[in-house]
């Protein structure tokens, strides 16, 4: 049976892992390569790195960091932030990343999904999306609107329509990061996650709001997520990946047990 993946997310700011709430109030947590190695030893199933300031500062991603992570862990990892074209994607993949994640770039230029998928394979291209719950359903029938640039800008695009279009363009996986739940540690946005997971043919990764093991149980059983991103709950040492996995096994969730 295919197991549900647990994916620690490392937000990188000036070569340091940071954690904030809704991209604000960032606190420095540690060295990305050391943290990646520790989570790998602890049995995480995959890792994701976002260079959260690369796009805003209009600079390419820190490729040396990608190389160092690739040497340190023998599991798949995705890299996002600071990807502006096919050459950037190729550099990240050749440095040893399994996947590249595009978000604002894909909104500006949806063709990049098809180009990346054709050049490197759909399994390499992840769409990150930051949907915000909205009242007005005339513009966004699903009730969720896509935001970009670290939630700062609303696009008027409907989240479910964008997800389906991205799959048609060739994306291999979708990370659904709830703007409303991000950093709150009060649980994933289950309605949003389920809406996307139940209506696209590719794996969906839930993101934003993980605070305890029960939140993961809920997002896997009630919202049908294929994988879940966690950050603050392990970065702060409140819990550990082995402890989360033990809770998920007890709840009957299929989890990778050998690492």
């Amino acid at each position: 049976m295919l197991t549900r993946r647990i994916i620690p997310c490392l937000d990188i700011h000036n070569k340091v892992v940071t954690k904030g709430v809704r991209f604000q109030n960032n606190v420095e947590l540690g060295d990305p390569v050391e943290m990646a190695a520790r989570y790998y030893e602890d049995g995480c199933d995959e890792l994701v790195f976002y260079d959260i300031t690369a796009s805003a500062e209009r600079r390419p991603i820190d490729i040396e960091m990608v190389r160092e992570v690739a040497k340190a862990v023998r599991i798949p990892f995705a890299v996002g932030g600071g990807i502006s074209n096919l050459q950037d994607m190729e550099r990240v993949l050749l440095a040893g990343a399994e996947k590249v994640s595009v978000n604002s770039l894909a909104v500006r230029n949806p063709a990049i999904i098809a180009e990346g998928s054709k050049a490197f394979g759909a399994q390499c291209i992840v769409l990150g999306m930051d949907p915000l719950a909205v009242e007005d359903r005339t513009r966004c029938p699903s009730g969720y609107e896509i935001t970009v640039r670290g939630f700062r800008e609303r696009t008027g695009m409907d989240a479910l329509e964008w997800a389906k279009r991205a799959v048609d363009l060739g994306v291999g996986e979708i990370v659904v990061n709830s703007v409303d739940a991000d950093g709150t540690r009060s649980g994933f946005e289950l309605a949003l996650t389920g809406l996307i997971a139940d209506n696209v043919s590719v794996p969906v990764v839930a993101s934003g709001g993980a605070g305890c093991s029960q939140h993961l149980v809920d997002v896997f059983t009630l919202a049908h997520a294929d994988a879940a991103i966690i950050a603050g709950m392990i970065h702060t040492g409140d819990t550990t990946i082995p402890a989360i996995k033990a809770d998920l096994v007890a709840a009957g969730i299929p989890i990778r047990r050998h690492w």
Binding site: M1, L2, T3, R4, R5, Y40, D45, A70, K71, R74, I75, P76, L93, L94, A95, G96, E98, F120, G121, A122, Q123, G172, E173, D198, S201, V202, P203, H224, D226, A227, R256, R257, H258, W259
Partner: protein
């Protein structure tokens, strides 16, 4: 030296890094002479079968691979490499492949919307027969998979291990004589994957009875 065959079918960085991790000298190459000199050969690959076969023909490597197998050099196929050592793939409208092992490759056809294609993530691998490739690896250990098509060997005798997904139990590891092949990615499968690669590096197929 271990030759990792480069036939423009995907990124080989993580394959090379995995051998670096276990301290085995491996070289990424598409040079037939280098491949024939190698003590062991890794045939990896991600992407589509049609393009992979065209690249193999363009690089004139199909006969080199047949010669590697004829000589009994230990040979490890990974993912797309595993699929195209069978005889036929239904990908890209149907492609005749290398035929180093009897069998074909078919697409997952999930009966429900929760079984996503590609099959992506960690799934359990159940040993059908004991094989040195899996020595020291607990049965039902999870390995990392990314694929939309799966191998169907003609006879069960070539199946070393199986995995269940989308309503089928498919051959996730295959082997015969000096050939072993995995549908999963040992190079991305943590310590179990490294152990499998280490097992492959120590394997002496000449001492093995052919499994089919």
């Amino acid at each position: 030296m271990i030759a990792i065959i480069d036939y423009r079918a995907g990124n080989l960085t993580s394959v090379k890094l995995a051998f670096d991790t276990i301290g085995r000298e491996a070289r990424i190459t598409s040079d037939p002479a280098c491949i024939l000199e190698a003590e062991r050969v890794i045939f990896p690959g991600v992407g589509a079968a049609g393009a992979a076969m065209r690249h193999l023909q363009a690089l004139d490597l199909a006969d080199t691979l047949r010669e590697v197998v004829r000589r009994g050099t230990p040979f490890l196929g990974i993912c797309l490499g595993t699929q195209i050592i069978l005889e036929h793939s239904e990908e890209d409208g149907g492609v005749d492949t290398l035929g180093l092992l009897p069998g074909r490759v078919v697409r997952f056809a999930p009966a429900n919307r929760y079984d996503k294609v590609p099959h992506m993530g960690w799934n359990r691998v159940h040993a059908r027969v004991p094989h040195p490739l899996f020595e020291g690896i607990a049965d039902e250990t999870e390995f990392y998979f990314v694929h939309s098509y799966y191998p169907v060997p003609t006879t069960d005798d070539c199946t070393l291990a199986t995995t269940g997904y989308a309503g089928v139990t498919f051959a996730s590891a295959l082997g015969r004589g000096s050939i072993v092949a995995t549908q999963f990615h040992p190079e991305k499968s943590g310590k179990a994957g490294l152990r499998l690669l280490e097992n492959f590096c120590r394997w002496q197929p000449a001492g093995e009875e052919p499994t089919c």
